[in-house]
Symmetry: C2
Subunit: 223 residues, 2 copies
DNA sequence: ATTCGATTTAAACGATCGTTTGATTGAATG
DNA sequence: CATTCAATCAAACGATCGTTTAAATCGAAT
């Protein structure tokens, strides 16, 4: 109420609710997870969920924001750092700025699965959240990609960007290819593959400008 | 009961339930759709849903099977036709056999959205369905792709196949890139882009055998 | 005309849902 | 010590859920 921000006395409760909600949302989805199950797992009173987060949707928003906000901050920070240099960027650099924050300084082991799940919810649930959290990141990175692929018609680039996001979501959701077991190394490898795959898909048929390094892989793999 | 299959007397009810369920599942997801809402939209009695399909899960299975089965049949038919020829196949041909049945002779306009939604449900829901409907298609196409990319380590190929499926699901779910309006032409264009994108991603760094056409794009990327 | 199985129906089952209420706690403030 | 207020609690709100029951209805075969 005062101008000084009031610290909540008991941050344990809030955080325990967030932790429990996160686990259950990932496992069963939003609609199939009850506030009672969350409260039970968090070992708090049922009414505490509404007291701290207003509603079930509010809780979902908070669960998501907690982990994705720092990742998106890091993404924008890296992109801005790249853009401050005056040379023209490479597609590889841009996608690294977009995807590597998902594993470097990973704020929480459960973030990837959480992102994968939220993006999979029906649009009525995800739309406000995605617009709030991702509007800026999506716009800025798409603009950056346009710059390195100037000859690609915009409608094709939109499709490819769309396909890239789909790969990312699916990869985050399962975290290892079907039939393989999860491990941190496996996941890291997946992010690298995601970057390679996306570079190839986005730039198909295009002359890439910028650092020729990014074509090295391309060449050295061709025997 | 007899050896002759008994035709249900009133296929109207069954089909009306399937139609209604399909629309509502796509729009709101499985958990958030009630059997009462389905029965109301289908203009049938609530108990009819359990009578004809046993349970809500049974209904979901039937909704999905109805449209995806013919598509998967067509996919396998095309792949087998390719494999009967004795020349070595191209990646492009294989992916066309995998993706073009989604638009050619499209059994139902709503299939893409339905596939996109089902694949997005929590694993506890989708796992039995996906295993039942897609096990053979996934195995056969993955094997075919291995043959045209013999030098690609299997763990990398698994990731790339995984990323490709992610692109497909996302593309089916939205049917047009964010910010663009849906049209049948737009969707067809998206399938074509999906094939191009996947060829580039899967074959990145690989020498493709078969029709050299598909390498043209690949080469012109390197300036 | 009657029988019979398949289908439809109204009604209810017990369970669970998100949210709200009003009392109670407990630590900080004066 | 008295006051205050954020936080917690048990309990209940009305609504809705998937499923089941048992009677009613219908068409075709006997």
């Amino acid at each position: 109420m005062s101008t000084k921000s009031v610290q909540p006395k008991n941050i344990d409760t809030r955080d325990r609710i967030l932790d429990a909600a996160e686990e259950l949302f990932v496992e069963h989805g939003f609609a199939a997870t009850s506030l009672r199950a969350i409260a039970t797992r968090a070992d708090v009173n049922l009414a505490a969920t509404n007291y701290h987060f207003g509603s079930k949707m509010g809780l979902l928003g908070s669960v998501f924001h907690r982990h994705i906000f720092p990742v998106n901050e890091e993404r924008l920070k890296r992109l801005k750092a790249l853009e401050r240099s005056e040379r023209s960027l490479t597609l590889n650099e841009i996608l690294e700025a977009l995807f590597l924050p998902l594993i470097e300084g990973l704020p929480h082991e459960r973030l990837p699965a959480l992102m994968g799940r939220i993006f999979s919810e029906p649009e009525s649930i995800t739309k406000p959240i995605i617009e709030k959290e991702f509007a800026e990141v999506a716009a800025r990175f798409q603009a950056a990609i346009v710059k390195v692929l100037p000859d690609l018609p915009i409608e094709i680039l939109r499709w490819r960007f769309h396909l890239m996001i789909g790969s990312m979501i699916h990869m985050l959701k399962f975290q290892s290819p079907i039939g393989s077991e999860y491990s941190r190394d496996m996941f890291t490898k997946g992010i690298e593959e995601l970057i390679n795959y996306s570079v190839a898909g986005l730039s198909r048929g295009q002359n890439l400008q910028g650092n020729p390094d990014q074509q090295v892989n391309h060449q050295e793999i061709s025997k």
